[in-house]
């Protein structure tokens, strides 16, 4: 199994491949970069069609679904199943005009896709999931069937799930959307085994966790998941992601031996936002069965330890 955490700026996109089988979790961030990766990296059949067996949108925030309309409209993608959280259609919305332009565009795209393919959007709740070939699977551990928190907070109800492959026992990957402390309070009330993982995609791009103390949150999450590698999909635009206190919490837990951010954090020296040549950190991060995170930019290790980033926040020692 191979899992790519794409460098898409501020946003999330995770591509899972097991043999010829492909699943994607979130398609946020820069749509062009998502589309380019999918069309150049994924295998196409003789008719040029790219098969994606499952596409999951963890929750309805633009940095997690922004690239979806382009994928749904593009006839070259054949999507087996589209999974979305129940906040796809926010209940209790008083005035539909409050939906942003992107949300309307998303709904249009989904309806067109449904009409074209005859398929329906699937919900994905705790305990549900899908297989990827004969050995790999994605299993959701959150959200619960009954909303836990009044008001339906989107981050809290993010789909959280684990990707795993029986043939690669050392690379269980926990994908967390923008889950917050309330999500993990609900998850830990249910199962101990379900979220133990080797690699953790840190929730909310390493940003603040819904009002909970960030250091305590990060520490508790690392001790709960027991991952030894942490990936953060961030963008230079949100210059403080990941938050320094989040990184302090990850260090405090003591179990993580590797952290990689897809882009350089503002906490690591604050890149000049108008400088297109600013350092870009790890780029797309890959997990492919080895003990370490593979980075798109081979000089990443030297980069964070060298003179370019004097105060690299991912340094664990």
């Amino acid at each position: 199994m191979r899992v790519d955490f794409l460098d898409v700026g501020h946003g999330s996109c995770v591509v899972v491949r097991s043999g010829a089988h492909v699943a994607i979790i979130d398609v946020g961030g820069a749509p062009r970069q998502v589309h380019e990766f999918l069309t150049t990296e994924l295998p196409a059949d003789s008719d040029g069609r790219i098969k994606i067996e499952a596409l999951v949108i963890t929750h309805m925030h633009e940095d997690h679904y922004r690239g979806l309309p382009a994928i749904l409209y593009d006839g070259c993608f054949e999507i087996g199943a589209l999974y979305a959280n129940r906040d796809l259609l926010p209940e209790g919305l008083v005035d539909d005009s409050l939906l942003g332009r992107m949300e309307m565009r998303l709904h249009e795209a989904i309806v067109c896709w449904q009409r074209r393919t005859g398929k329906q959007v699937c919900s994905l709740l705790d305990g549900e999931g899908f297989s990827l070939g004969t050995s790999a699977r994605f299993t959701a551990v959150w959200p619960a069937a009954i909303p836990t928190w009044p008001g339906g907070v989107r981050n809290t109800d993010s789909i959280v799930g684990r990707v795993e492959d029986d043939e690669d026992p050392g690379m269980r990957v926990l994908v967390t959307g923008d889950a917050d402390a309330r999500s993990f309070a609900g998850i830990t009330a249910r199962s101990a085994l379900a979220i133990l993982s080797d690699v953790l995609l840190f929730p909310h791009h390493g940003g603040l966790p819904g009002g909970a103390d960030p250091t305590r949150f990060a520490s508790a999450l690392c001790r709960t998941v027991k991952a030894d590698r942490v990936v953060i999909q961030n963008g230079t635009r949100w210059v403080n992601h990941p938050h320094k206190k989040i990184l302090a919490g990850i260090r405090q837990a003591g179990s993580v031996h590797e952290i990689a951010c897809t882009e350089l954090s503002g906490s690591c020296g604050r890149p000049h936002p108008s400088d297109v040549y600013a350092p870009r950190c790890a780029g797309t991060v890959t997990v492919d069965g080895g003990p370490s995170l593979q980075t798109e930019r081979p000089h990443h290790g030297q980069f964070v330890r060298g003179a370019l980033v004097a105060d690299a926040q991912c340094m664990l020692s």
Binding site: G9, A30, E62, A81, Y83, L88, P90, E91, G92, L93, V94, D96, L98, G100, R101, M104, H107, E108, V111, V121, S123, G127, E128, G129, F130, S131, R137, V141, W149, P150, G151, V153, R154, D166, E167, R172, D178, D180, A181, R182, A185, T188, A192, L193, P209, G210, G211, A212, R216, F217, A220, T224, K226, G235, V239, N240, G266, H272, P273, S274
Partner: protein, 298 residues
């Protein structure tokens, strides 16, 4: 009902870092002035598309510089927005920010483009329509508030009279913990910004689940107001889509407590904490959750 203006040939480039508000500002400009609006919220991602077009007016509305770390960073973005968006340096540029731009910085900005207006404030919905109408010499008059609703009161903290802004702390059951609204004395601007604010709460507020806003002013004197909220009489296409999207449950149910005779299961079993450790962890999460407020944005 908001009147729809006849189509104009004018093209406006609108930068606005608050996406929900920016989308609605762009819609208002289109519907009320008939101008062709290109709305951009993220300079980083759309710069190529912007470079291909010419505009009659460029509006930069950067209200929220908190996420950028400091005000200088926000100013750099404004510079880049100007320099990379206006091929024709004669395109008039209006800048509205929450942070102060010094006179020497304005001089510097003028090297990048033709700055026609710089204000240390963020315009409300109608304010921006009015400003664009003025600079493009288009006919426009303020519309009346068409619908009034009372949804209650809430808390505004860190209010500053000079900067006309306040931080609103909304209760934990809503979708956001911290939003900035423009302040005015129960006037049009505050009313409008609150309607934007509700948009940014993304459906978390309703009559049954009201947003509470309490306005604090004048040296600790605390007063509560019933605020009129503009409810736009527009039904977007999403209304139709809502009933069109169909759902099914996931086709597969997977037991998360998998057998430990697989390689993955054996590895996981080695990591499983003792029951009392797990209970302690769960307790820690419950405590963390109880201190958590609302959502922290995207």
């Amino acid at each position: 009902m908001i009147p729809t203006a006849p189509q104009s040939s004018k093209r406006v480039l609108l930068f606005d870092d608050q996406r929900t508000a920016g989308t609605r500002r762009a819609e208002r400009l289109r519907s009320e002035l008939g101008v062709d609006v290109r709305y951009v919220w993220d300079v980083e991602q759309t710069i190529d598309e912007i470079l291909l077009s010419r505009y009659d007016l460029c509006v930069l509305d950067y209200s929220d510089v908190r996420g950028w770390g400091d005000t200088r960073c926000g100013l750099d973005i404004v510079k880049r927005g100007i320099s990379e968006s206006t091929i024709n340096r004669d395109t008039p540029v209006m800048i509205y920010t929450m942070f102060t731009i010094r006179p020497d910085e304005i001089d510097e900005l003028e090297h990048y483009g033709r700055i026609v207006e710089v204000k240390n404030q963020v315009l409300g919905m109608e304010g921006i329509v009015e400003a664009v109408a003025h600079w493009l010499d288009l006919p426009w008059t303020r519309s009346e508030i068409v619908t009034s609703r009372v949804w209650g009161v809430g808390e505004i903290q860190d209010w500053s009279e000079t900067e006309r802004q306040a931080t609103v702390i909304v209760p934990s059951w809503s979708d956001s913990t911290e939003l900035v609204v423009e302040w005015s004395w129960l006037g049009q601007e505050l009313v409008e910004e609150l309607s934007v604010l509700i948009g940014e709460l993304e459906g978390g507020v309703s009559e049954a689940n009201p947003l509470l806003v309490r306005v604090e002013y004048n040296e600790n004197a605390l007063r509560s107001y019933e605020l009129d909220l503009r409810v736009l009489d527009r039904i977007g296409p999403a209304a139709a889509f809502r009933s069109s999207v169909t759902w099914t449950s996931a086709p597969e149910r997977i037991d998360p407590e998998e057998p430990t005779d697989t390689p993955a299961g054996k590895r996981a079993a080695g990591k499983v904490p003792a029951a009392e450790v797990w209970e302690s962890l769960h307790e820690e999460w419950v405590n963390l959750a109880s201190t958590a407020g609302g959502e922290e944005g995207d």
